[in-house]
């Protein structure tokens, strides 16, 4: 059974159909790239999968369970972590604070237990702190742990967001344009990081990405959208060669070399 299944997802905003019946699967352990030209509906589909939007039709299943009508805060508990296109960090907090906050779903203790600092609450706090310590050193954030995130450069903030998403022990990681705003060297680092994360955390990754080089390099599978419909689905090489994809990106003229160059 695939870990993530999208079935006939439809998303309409008023009269505009942004996603018109898209289905795809992501198998456990895969890195799946979601691509498409601007306005293809990638981000909308991504937001349906991550629970930000309730779809107008169809459903998304995670490990066999329908998640499309679930309260949003339950997604992290199920094991779905995400990052955001334009950084969504807790700006007043330190790097460490952000990552510990990301581990929130791993705890159960409430107001009373924490106010009284009961052993159960303290144990949860210690576990979250330990997990955070590991993530910080893995993502080379340890020296910056006590800096306020707002004072850090963009590329570092993106890593903090990744660490925060990993703190909830996700089975599925949803990355919204992880390469957006990064320079060449940083994109290379990101590609290595993704490989490292998949190997080290036993996690499945779905990413929406504009950066073709990155998608083709790291993905096991690519889903291409155009005008709210799926136009290709398969291994990167196959999708790259698909005439539909070429047409979507480059118009009707066949300029395969240009795509390869990208």
């Amino acid at each position: 059974m695939p870990l993530l299944e999208a079935r006939n997802v439809v998303m309409r905003f008023g009269g505009v159909t942004a996603v018109a019946g898209v289905s795809f699967d992501v198998e456990a352990g895969q890195i799946c790239g979601l691509i498409g030209p601007n306005g293809a509906g990638k981000t909308t589909l991504f937001n349906v999968v991550s629970g930000i939007y309730r779809p107008s039709g169809g459903e998304v299943r995670f490990a066999g369970q329908t998640i499309t009508r679930m309260p949003r805060h339950r997604m992290a508990t199920l094991g779905i972590g995400r990052t955001f296109q334009n950084l969504a960090l807790f700006r007043s907090m330190t790097v460490r604070g952000n990552v510990i906050a990301g581990a929130h779903s791993g705890g159960r203790s409430g107001f009373l237990a924490n106010a009284l600092s009961l052993p159960s609450a303290r144990a949860e706090g210690a576990a979250a702190a330990e997990r955070t310590g590991e993530l910080l050193s893995l993502l080379s954030l340890a020296p910056l742990a006590d800096m306020r995130v707002a004072d850090l450069p963009f590329g570092v903030q993106k890593r903090v967001e990744m660490a925060r998403a990993l703190a909830c022990r996700p089975k599925l990681l949803l990355l919204d344009e992880p390469a957006g705003g990064l320079n060449h060297a940083e994109v290379d680092e990101l590609a290595e990081l993704l490989e490292q994360v998949r190997a080290g955390f036993d996690v499945t990754i779905l990413l929406v990405e504009h950066h073709m080089g990155l998608v083709m390099r790291v993905s096991d599978k690519v889903v291409a959208l155009n005008f709210g419909r799926k136009i290709a689905d398969g291994p990167p090489d196959e999708v790259r060669a698909s005439p539909e994809v070429l047409r979507a990106y480059l118009g009707d003229g066949q300029c395969a070399e240009a795509v390869h160059a990208a």
Binding site: I52, F90, R91, S92, M93, A101, N114, A115, A121, D146
Partner: protein, 346 residues
């Protein structure tokens, strides 16, 4: 949680053990702040008398009320201009139970806190839909409404209407060599101390982090598994409880409750105390409480005709000079001299 609350762990380095001087410095660093604070808290018992000790007791109570407000507005980011209402409810529950039903002060604390918690939870529900300025207006109207409700004829049997209620301070136990004023100060410090301890635990825990996360970025907070509705309403309830307990303490300290002492000015005073002391800080409310109690009388001693103007000027000087409050200034000073900051920030 180690490190989250601005308490970098001070670990004696094995190499330091051979250097007695450094070891002593580390011990000094660790024990001096708590010992000094304890001394500063207890010294007034013997140094101050009568009215001055009474004033300081009221300042402690204001600090506690500001602490309550700081949970909801500072940590959870929901603006409340109506915390005077919770202060009033706490004061009246205690006053009514003591003067009508003859309860002891300690016995009135749980019902007083509970009622404030329930009302706070109720106010927290509309707060989920109303953000920022709209919430400020809703809580503002609460502050306006409560004194009028307290005067209302249907409640007069319990509240004493416009006249209010008289009550008396709890007597010090015979084995304690303290007069009633000293006893009251100790009592206020004890209750406030407990609340400060509980709050500082809370704000440093996953719950406190979650409140700040929701304040900073609700969408990301939800994606991290935080149940915004539950956390925000409970924060409101806890905040109202603490401010209500402060109200209960004020009723027995002043030995009198009247509807007009809990009007809008009180809510604004608490807000000023929070901002001057330091938003989203546990230490800040202590300074906020001292500020709102003593600065108005300092202003009056400077200019008898226009104390409001002087107060305003002092306030502006504080806000410009210490944009993150008195607690923020202390935190930065502590960082500069390399001591672990006493206050907690994340």
């Amino acid at each position: 949680m180690e490190g989250v609350c601005g308490k970098p762990p001070i670990r004696p380095n094995p190499a330091d053990a051979s250097q007695p001087a450094r070891g002593a410095a580390i011990r000094l660093r660790r024990y001096l702040p708590p010992v000094a604070s304890l001394a500063a808290i207890l010294a007034p018992l013997w140094l101050l008398e009568g009215f001055h000790l009474f004033q300081l007791t009221v300042a402690v109570i204001m600090a506690l009320a500001v602490l309550g407000l700081n949970i909801v507005t500072g940590y959870s980011g929901q603006i409340s201009l109506g915390h005077g209402a919770f202060f009033a409810i706490g004061a009246y529950v205690t006053a009514a139970l003591m003067s009508h039903a003859g309860w002891s002060f300690w016995a009135t604390l749980p019902p007083s806190a509970a009622l404030c918690g329930i009302v706070g939870y109720g106010v927290g529900l509309p707060a989920l839909r109303l953000g920022g300025l709209y919430l400020a207006l809703v809580t503002f109207s609460l502050a306006v409404a409560v004194p009028q409700l307290l005067k209302h004829r249907s409640l007069e049997a319990w509240t004493g209407g416009v006249q209010g209620l008289f009550l008396s301070k709890p007597e010090p136990p015979p084995w304690l060599p303290l007069d009633p004023d000293q006893h009251m100060y100790l009592l206020a410090v004890l209750v406030a101390g407990c609340c400060f301890w509980l709050t500082s635990n809370l704000v440093c825990s996953r719950i406190g982090l979650a409140l700040m996360a929701i304040r900073d970025h609700p969408v990301a907070a939800e994606a991290s598994g935080m149940d915004i509705a539950a956390l925000k309403t409970r924060a409101f309830a806890v905040s109202a409880m603490i401010t209500g307990v402060a109200g209960a303490l004020s009723a027995v300290t002043i030995e009198y409750v009247a509807p007009d002492s809990f009007g809008l000015p009180l809510s604004i005073t608490l807000f000023v105390g929070m901002v001057v002391g330091g938003v989203a800080s546990v230490l800040g409310p202590v300074f906020g409480g001292l500020f709102v109690l003593f600065v108005p009388s300092i202003a009056e001693s400077i200019s008898r005709a226009t104390p409001g103007v002087v107060y305003g000027v002092i306030l502006i000087v504080f806000l410009v000079g210490m944009p993150d409050g008195i607690a923020g200034l202390i935190r930065r000073a502590a960082q500069r001299i390399g001591w672990s900051a006493e206050d907690r920030t994340t």
